[in-house]
């Protein structure tokens, strides 16, 4: 079930196992039958840690979503709330408890587990609501970094970016640091820390501090992770705004991937059987598919530029049909037996292939519309630096046609980034157009975008062209089919964030100090001392002779989110021949331009007018 987690250099199944153990300990603390009441935002991440049957084995008979009002009728002994420490959820919890006590008397025990951490504010709120005393257990379940794939961890904290940048509430960063400490207890202290950006600095400071706190109980493990690179999203806010052009990236842009699951309209899927994908829901609903490296074909496809996917699928198709044709060649009983033993694998491969052919068709259909292509060309013009300083007719048309506001905002922000900020007049013009077309309720959204500096006026020197040039962000010749540079993930644009990771190892950040100083926030380089006995030996003579120096493992932590395309780019770097490092990616949230902008937006909806 979790085999896809253990195929990397760092075995993330270990992390998952430790989460599972802890979860079961929590559940077993409550004896008797249980009903779990879930905070909606947690069901997805939890499904990656423990499957339903496991919970059931440990007495969790019922599962309910956390809603205000009354729980469905049940006759369990324990009601367990599992929720984030958010004040807004406490009202629902309290209502549930009150109603349950009214109907069932005091026969039930209540428990609440906060994920990832207890919060004094929430406990206080429960006290205020008069239910604090009803709980037998008020505890925390420290689920921070959830393993998504063998090289990918996410905390899935949607509001992290908004809280940190708009509300100056760095609680999520504290969780992040705790998560890093968890990683360090399992995989050893990470010797070298690099970082760029304001929040990265905060995280590093907290991390070093927390190590001092826990140094006495530190596990003595040889470090498995060599470097930690912390990148603040504000260092590179442009990348996530652009349309991702990898297979996985496009699926995310067009259909949305949630906790490695994608929901697709069933009528277009021709798999027939669900054996290739995830669990099957009701047939009329959207079909859920699990996308991770557990599926071999997907592991090969996901990081490719979409234009290379078709060719690859047809190659695969030929290969599989050739394999099936081997049955004609099988003459002896032995040969037939051998063939039959390969059958299940081949059938799985065939199902997988047909699934991805249908997905590819769907993606193709949606990505060859005029809306998609025109927007893409406009983006490309922007990052090439063409006409970024005046109102763009395509954006104007989009506004005039009242296309989705997120799309419009995304394009305006891209233009603004690429132009190093707008002239005041142009900025005001765009903003006014948005308000006049989409309504005054977007006032706060626009101010939020300004506050996080996705929209800004020109100031100081125009550093963007300089950065673009030094870091080779714009690459003219990309071989999308057979790339030689990370720029293939955006068909010509290399994500700045990944370039920083690339330059860190080769030729080193020292060569780009000028660019680093142009990027916002401090640059961080720290070393965590490790007992001599635990240090990795410098490559010994034998390994130099044989010429196989094992690449270092670098954990890249994106504060504020990372896109699938960036992950693909990092994977591309890991897979290069003589790659200096293999990358492990961790993030506060997996994002794309749409859901990132949405997380910054503030949606106001007017109360209906009183007619009297």
């Amino acid at each position: 079930m979790a085999s896809h987690l253990s195929s990397g250099r760092i075995n993330l199944a270990v992390l998952r196992e430790s989460y599972r153990r802890e979860l079961l300990e929590c559940l077993d603390r409550c004896t008797g039958s249980k009903a779990l009441v879930w905070d909606d935002a947690l069901t997805g991440p939890f499904s990656l840690i423990a499957e339903y049957s496991l919970l059931k084995e440990h007495g969790a008979d019922k599962m309910y979503p956390l809603r205000p009002g009354q729980l469905p009728r049940n006759n369990v002994a324990n009601i367990i709330f599992i929720c984030r420490p958010k004040l807004s959820l406490m009202d629902s919890v309290a209502q549930n408890v009150h109603r349950e006590e009214e109907t069932a008397g005091c026969m039930k025990e209540f428990h609440i587990f906060f994920v990832p951490r207890k919060s004094m504010l929430c406990e206080h709120k429960l006290k205020e609501l008069g239910v604090h005393g009803c709980f037998t257990n008020i505890d925390e379940y420290c689920l921070n970094l959830i393993p998504f794939d063998y090289d990918l961890l996410s905390m899935e904290m949607e509001s992290s970016f908004k809280e940190c940048y708009l509300q100056n509430d760095e609680t999520s960063l504290f969780y992040t640091v705790q998560a890093l400490m968890t990683l360090q207890t399992l995989y050893g202290v990470i010797p070298n820390i690099y970082g760029k950006g304001e929040l990265a600095k905060h995280v590093v400071d907290m991390m070093l501090r927390m190590r001092r706190e826990t140094v006495s109980t530190e596990q003595q493990i040889t470090p498995q992770i060599d470097n930690l690179l912390i990148l603040d999203r504000m260092v590179d806010p442009l990348t996530p705004l652009l349309s991702q052009l990898t297979y996985e990236g496009l699926i995310d842009e067009l259909f949305g991937i949630q906790n490695t699951m994608v929901k697709l309209p069933p009528e277009n899927l021709t798999t027939g059987d669900s054996s290739g994908g995830g669990p099957q829901e009701g047939s009329s609903e959207m079909k859920k598919l699990t996308l991770n490296s557990g599926e071999q074909l997907y592991a090969e496809l996901r990081d490719k530029n979409f234009s290379a996917v078709g060719a690859m699928l047809s190659r695969k198709a030929k290969l599989i049909s050739a394999q099936f044709d081997e049955r004609h060649a099988a003459k002896t009983v032995g040969e037939i037996k051998q063939f039959v033993s390969k059958l299940p694998h081949m059938q799985a491969a065939r199902t997988s292939l047909s699934t991805h052919v249908s997905i590819t068709e769907m993606v193709k259909e949606r990505s060859s519309t005029d809306e998609f292509l025109d927007a893409l060309h406009t983006q490309q013009d922007f990052f090439k630096g063409l006409d970024t300083d005046k109102a763009n007719p395509y954006i104007e048309d989009c506004i005039a046609r009242q296309e989705p506001i997120v799309k419009v905002l995304r394009l305006i922000c891209i233009q603004c980034m690429c132009n190093n900020g707008f002239r005041q007049k142009l900025l005001d013009y765009y903003k006014r157009e948005v308000i006049q077309t989409y309504g005054f309720e977007h006032m706060i959204t626009i101010q939020n975008l300004e506050a996080v500096r996705l929209l800004k006026t020109q100031e100081g020197s125009r550093s963007y062209p300089n950065i673009r040039k030094t870091l080779r962000l714009f690459v003219e010749e990309v071989k999308e089919q057979n790339p030689s540079d990370i720029a293939y993930v955006y068909s010509g644009y290399a994500p700045l964030s990944v370039r920083l990771a690339q330059f860190l190892h080769r030729p080193g950040w020292r060569s780009i100090t000028e660019v680093l100083s142009l990027l916002p926030g401090p640059t961080i380089e720290e070393v965590q001392q490790i007992p001599i006995g635990l240090r990795k030996r410098k490559s010994s003579i034998t390994s130099i002779q044989s010429g196989t120096v094992e690449p270092k493992v670098t954990l890249v932590l994106f504060l504020g989110g990372v896109t699938y395309a960036e992950i693909s780019a990092l994977r591309f770097l890991s897979q290069l021949e003589d790659a200096p490092a293999e990358y492990l990616v961790a993030t506060t949230k997996l994002i794309n331009g749409t859901n990132w902008i949405e997380s910054i937006m503030e949606t106001l909806s007017p109360k209906p007018m009183n007619p009297f």
Binding site: S88, M120, D169, M443
Partner: protein, 809 residues
């Protein structure tokens, strides 16, 4: 014994803790006639098991009826009014609690302290012969047991016993026995007896709660299982008196104590009599019986099997022969070899036996001899794991060390196994034998965190309570000892110092504490709130910051509070975040106080959306407008102004046209007006709100097309030259599924866009031809891509065109 006390239960209340624990004595006045009582208040004396004085203090409280030790070695003094006072081993009061109002009103006549599964329990018998039970003194919940029906006299005897993990009471009323449980049941039980008794005089439950002994008025000693199902023996003691004590010796025998006779009776009616010259006190242990007297502390136990096997005269057990062998070996006799040959086959058993026997021996010399035998035997074994031997040597060393009369914890090996080593170390720490405890930990190579550094932390806590030593010196002593120790909780030590009233020392110590989560709560307790806030901020733990903030708010005037946090941006921002969710009024005030006009204005904008009448909404916006202008946000000011204008305008429209327009944007309002054929109003609004021309054109043609007003659309297209070209016309027509209308505009489309427009209208053939005319290969490809697989003819045609084009070049 280090004391000189007559251990007479008649004269003293006596409490002896099991596992070689401390002994407490207090003068007992209850049996003394009032007239002869001494007027002075009694003392409570606490001794070690070796009779060494640990502490004594004068009893100032009420009348004590029972003394006992809890499993954590706290002294429990139970008074007749049901109050239980808890003292530590040094006679310092820790806390007190009551056994309930009933016990207080009715008075307690008897009391028993017992071990329950939850911890140490107390049962009290009131003057109305009701039992009140607490299962765990650390979690006082009083349970009243059922009354025995028709009981008029005090029960002749009673005892507590654990059954099914919960304490039950076994009570004798005349000739009947009753089992009382905690759910209110009261069942009569009858032990099987040859001659039924008319009164039960004494009950004793064994240490492990499995066996029961009863003494009846017909002089019978009944021994059976605690569920009364099986009987082991009935012994006629020929003694009419009630024994002073009836207790179990381990699990194998019962001891009755009369004046100066101890009668030991086994389950097979075998018995031995001992005589005592001075009074003694008996305390059962898991594997034997302690007999505490004025001059000695004796331990009575059944000879352990291993020792019996080895040392019994004429024993042929393999261990015994090995023991013989080493003796011969030491003499230099070859018979050693013969013995070894004799037990060759079972040598590993013999070694194990010797090791075990060594464990049960008290004399180090005998221990050594047995261990030597074991090593000797080991030499002849090839792959024998030395763990058991090493382990036993270590344990014996520890045991011998704590048995020393200076320490005074005379444990047997079996008891140590039951008690476990960490508990023993805790008990050493409790007695302030820090040095020995650390040495044991280091000797056994226990990890620092649970071993030496933990003990040092306890030591430091004790150190800070020594009030005669100056702060500096204490701090120095602690820091120098603990500096290189990891995992010491300075917060605990500081807490000790603070509770001892040494705030300065506590602060000094707390500075060494690396964990903010430990530091901050203590700082708050010490009322060093601002320092606590700083430390919390430093840690980055927002929950900690919130905790301090809440504490500050509760203990400070609100003005001071705000002054205090405004200089600390992190705390201030977190407070704002809290207000954002829970207290908007406070948020408004804060912004107001800080002159954050922009935030204030934003807040008003948000507020405006919660209002359900136009007037209040406008007034919200007006104050937002004011805020924006104060914040010098020109654009926002203007926009808010426009929004207010829009709302009023929409209200007017609603009045005039009797339709809903409120809450639409400018664009949407005009769109709706066009849709409804209100062109004059639309035009009017366009001027009023200065809608740019390009967008207006888009708006108008989209709306007209949606309305299906093709006539008007055509009219509009001809009104003047379109600023957006004519493709949009084609587009909106197609969108509203009117190919015919779309045709009208195709001719006016710019040449560059013609091909795409023809594709949109579905006229692929024409599109291809135009592309061909324009000699544009790329456009041809686009058309080709649209052809798909069905349109064979056209596909071929385009291919020919492409060939022609390339040949022309």
């Amino acid at each position: 014994m280090g004391w000189n006390v007559e251990v007479d239960p008649e004269k003293f209340l006596i409490a002896v803790a099991p596992y070689g624990g401390p002994i407490a004595l207090m003068r007992n006045d209850r049996n003394v006639p009032k007239a002869q009582r001494v007027a002075t208040k009694p003392f409570i004396n606490i001794y070690t098991s070796a009779g060494r004085d640990i502490a004594h203090f004068k009893w100032e409280s009420g009348s004590v009826i029972h003394l006992a030790w809890s499993c954590k070695e706290d002294l429990l003094c139970i008074q007749d009014d049901g109050v239980v006072l808890v003292y530590d081993i040094f006679g310092n009061i820790k806390r007190h609690f009551s056994m309930g109002q009933d016990a207080k009103d009715l008075h307690v006549i008897e009391c028993q302290v017992f071990n329950s599964y939850q911890g140490t329990g107390i049962a009290v018998l009131t003057t109305t012969y009701r039992l009140f039970v607490v299962n765990n003194i650390d979690d006082v919940r009083i349970r009243r047991l059922q009354a025995i029906p028709g009981m008029e006299d005090a029960p002749s005897c009673w005892a507590m016993l654990n059954r099914d993990q919960s304490p039950h009471a076994l009570m004798a009323s005349q000739a009947e026995l009753f089992l009382l449980d905690q759910t209110g049941k009261c069942d009569p039980v009858t032990p099987k007896m040859t001659s039924p008794a008319s009164r039960f005089l004494a009950i004793s439950v064994s240490f492990n709660n499995k066996y029961l002994a009863l003494f009846t008025d017909n002089q019978l000693l009944w021994i059976g299982s605690s569920d009364l199902q099986s009987v082991y023996c009935e012994l006629d003691t020929k003694c009419t008196m009630v024994p002073k004590q009836l207790v179990w010796c381990g699990t194998g025998a019962v001891v009755g104590y009369w004046e100066n006779i101890l009668l030991l009776a086994g389950p097979k009616k075998d018995w031995i009599k001992y005589t005592n010259e001075t009074p003694v006190y008996l305390l059962p242990e898991a594997d034997g019986l302690r007999i505490i007297g004025q001059y000695s502390h004796e331990f009575l136990q059944r000879v352990p099997k291993a020792i019996e096997d080895i040392l019994k005269i004429g024993s042929m057990a393999s261990g015994a022969l090995l023991y013989e062998a080493i003796k011969e070996f030491q003499k230099g006799s070859q018979r050693a070899d013969e013995y070894i040959r004799l037990i060759r086959e079972t040598l590993d058993e013999a070694v194990a036996q010797c090791i075990e026997a060594a464990g049960h021996e008290w004399e180090p010399s005998k221990q050594k001899m047995l261990l030597r035998a074991a090593t000797f035997g080991k030499c002849f074994l090839t792959d024998y794991s030395p763990d058991a031997f090493v382990n036993m040597c270590q344990m014996l060393r520890v045991l011998n060390a704590v048995r020393d009369y200076n320490i005074g914890i005379p444990l047997t090996y079996t008891q140590l196994e039951k008690l476990t080593l960490p508990v023993l170390i805790d008990r050493l720490v409790l007695r302030r034998h820090y040095c020995l405890a650390i040495r044991i930990c280091n000797y056994l190579k226990l990890p620092e965190a649970e071993g030496s550094s933990r003990i040092l932390a306890h030591w430091a806590c004790y150190k800070v309570q020594q009030k005669h030593v100056p702060d500096e010196e204490v701090a120095h002593a602690i820091a120098s000892k603990l500096d290189d120790m990891s995992g010491v909780s300075y917060a605990d030590i500081a807490n000790g110092a603070f509770e001892g009233g040494r705030v300065k020392l506590a602060l000094k110590l707390l500075d060494h504490e690396p964990k903010a989560a430990e530091q901050v709560p203590l700082l708050m307790k010490m009322k060093k709130d601002e320092l606590a806030l700083l430390k919390a901020i430093e840690s980055g733990d927002t929950d900690l910051v919130y905790t301090v903030l809440r504490n500050l708010r509760e203990n400070m005037p609100s003005g001071d509070f705000l002054m205090c946090i405004r200089t600390k941006p992190i705390a201030y921002n977190l407070f704002i975040q809290d207000c954002r969710q829970q207290n908007r009024k406070m948020l408004q005030d804060l912004y107001c106080q800080e002159d954050s006009f922009l935030e204030q204005a934003n807040l008003r904008v948000v507020d405006s959306y919660d209002e359900d009448s136009l007037e209040t909404r406008l007034s919200c916006l007006l104050s937002a407008h004011e805020g924006y202008s104060k914040a010098k946000c020109d654009w926002a000011t203007k926009q808010t102004e426009e929004q207010m204008r829009l709302l009023r305008f929409q209200r007017q429209l609603e009045d005039e046209l009797k339709d809903q327009y409120l809450d639409l944007s400018v664009h949407q309002t005009i769109y709706r007006l066009v849709l409804q054929n209100k062109h004059r109003h639309a035009e009017n609004m366009r001027r009023e709100f200065k809608v740019p021309e390009r967008r207006y054109w888009w708006l108008k043609i989209s709306a007209l097309a949606q309305a299906g007003d093709w006539l008007e659309l055509e009219k509009f297209s001809k009104s003047k030259k379109s600023p957006i070209g004519y493709e949009p016309f084609v587009e909106v027509c197609i969108q509203n599924k009117n190919r015919f209308e779309a045709q009208k505009y195709l001719s006016r489309v710019l040449p560059d866009n013609k091909v795409t427009c023809y594709i949109k209208t579905g006229q692929l053939e024409q599109a291809a031809e135009i592309a061909f005319e324009r000699k544009n290969d790329e456009e041809l490809s686009t058309v080709l891509a649209k052809c798909g697989t069905t349109n064979r003819g056209l596909t071929e045609k385009i291919h020919t065109m492409k060939v022609q084009l390339s040949s022309h070049r």
